[in-house]
């Protein structure tokens, strides 16, 4: 099973909950501030994607900033 997530970085407030929730360590914190002044989460695009679309990150995200896709 393969998955993919999209993070709306302007909605993100950098709480780290998604990072904590992801079993695949697919999310890291960005070094760029967003407009609101937070360091948002971003997909760890180094290396191969291990994301399986489990949605745990999205469930944990307080801002509903993450959308999750999965291959059927």
């Amino acid at each position: 099973m393969k998955g993919k997530i999209e993070i709306d970085t302007e909605m993100c407030k950098g709480c780290l909950f998604c990072i904590e929730a992801c079993p695949k360590e697919m999310i890291i914190i960005s070094e760029e501030l967003n407009l609101k002044g937070y360091y948002p989460a971003k997909v760890n695009d180094k290396g191969e994607s291990r994301c399986n679309g489990c949605t745990l990150c999205a469930v944990a995200c307080p801002e509903a900033a993450i959308e999750v896709y999965r291959e059927k």
């Binding site: 950098g14 709480c15 469930v59």
Partner: protein, 258 residues
């Protein structure tokens, strides 16, 4: 690839004003998920409190009525009596529900009003800047208990859910949950769903107490806040079902009958 999680339909596409890691945001999201899943957006009415959640109506894409601080229980009582087939819930903080709204909460519960209360317990007055709440723990420092809450001056953290559970048959269901990780978030969602179902089945008053992080006023980061709930707060406010009369056989039958 198929989208398997998207922003809930009834959560308006605007940023919420909450602080990073605030439990209010998680619960707001859960409620909109449920309203979508239960297909009740056209008959759900939320009564937000005075508190950090005061602006909920900016986020919920269903009907809302503001309440004066603490009076959600009274407003919901009247609304539900006038509109018995709507799904009505109050959303209240610990200051709102357990301090200024003590009487309204207890008496609405005691009358068995058929609405649901989502009780966000963050052990602090969030909106006004972190004063002591009725649920503040012993020794917890707040702006009005600067050396920590102490029994003699401030009294004990009040367990409203336990107190409400002593009331008669009017109170159908009370559960305490939290939102500090994915399993606990899912449990909270289930609890709220059950609470809504109980009012729709006309059984009685239902309440879900959510232990909710307030990183800003606790002066912790979001993950520390979750840890604090897990390690300290749940000691005083144990998680779990506190009352559930649907477990009672007679109610079960009656409910299943229709």
């Amino acid at each position: 690839m198929k989208k398997v999680y998207s922003r809930p339909k009834y959560l308006k596409k605007v940023p919420m004003h909450y602080c990073p890691g605030c439990g209010h945001s998680i619960v707001a999201k859960l409620i909109t998920e449920l309203v979508e899943e239960m297909d009740i957006a056209d008959r759900t009415i939320c009564i937000p409190p005075a508190g950090c959640a005061v602006l909920l109506y900016n986020y919920f894409d269903f009907d809302c009525v503001e309440s004066a601080h603490g009076r959600g229980g009274a407003i919901a009582t009247a609304m539900k009596r006038v509109l018995p087939d709507r799904v009505i819930f109050t959303y209240q903080g610990d200051g709102d529900l357990a301090a200024i709204g003590t009487a309204e909460t207890i008496h609405a519960a005691n009358r068995g009003e058929r609405f649901t209360t989502i009780f966000i317990n963050n052990a602090v007055y969030g909106m006004t800047g972190g004063q002591m709440a009725p649920t503040t723990l012993f020794n917890q420092k707040t702006t009005t208990s600067q050396f920590g809450r102490e029994m003699r001056r401030d009294g004990a953290p009040i367990k409203m859910s336990e107190m409400l559970a002593t009331l008669d048959e009017g109170v159908a269901y009370i559960e305490r949950t939290t939102v500090i990780d994915v399993p606990s978030i899912k449990k909270t969602k289930k609890a709220i769903k059950k609470a809504f179902q109980i009012q729709m089945d006309d059984i009685g008053f239902s309440l879900v107490e959510v232990l909710s992080p307030c990183p800003t006023n606790w002066k912790m980061n979001p993950l520390q806040s979750c840890k604090w709930i897990d390690e300290d707060m749940t000691k005083v406010f144990p998680l779990g079902v506190i009352k559930d009369i649907t477990e009672n056989k007679k109610v079960k039958e009656a409910v299943n009958a229709d």
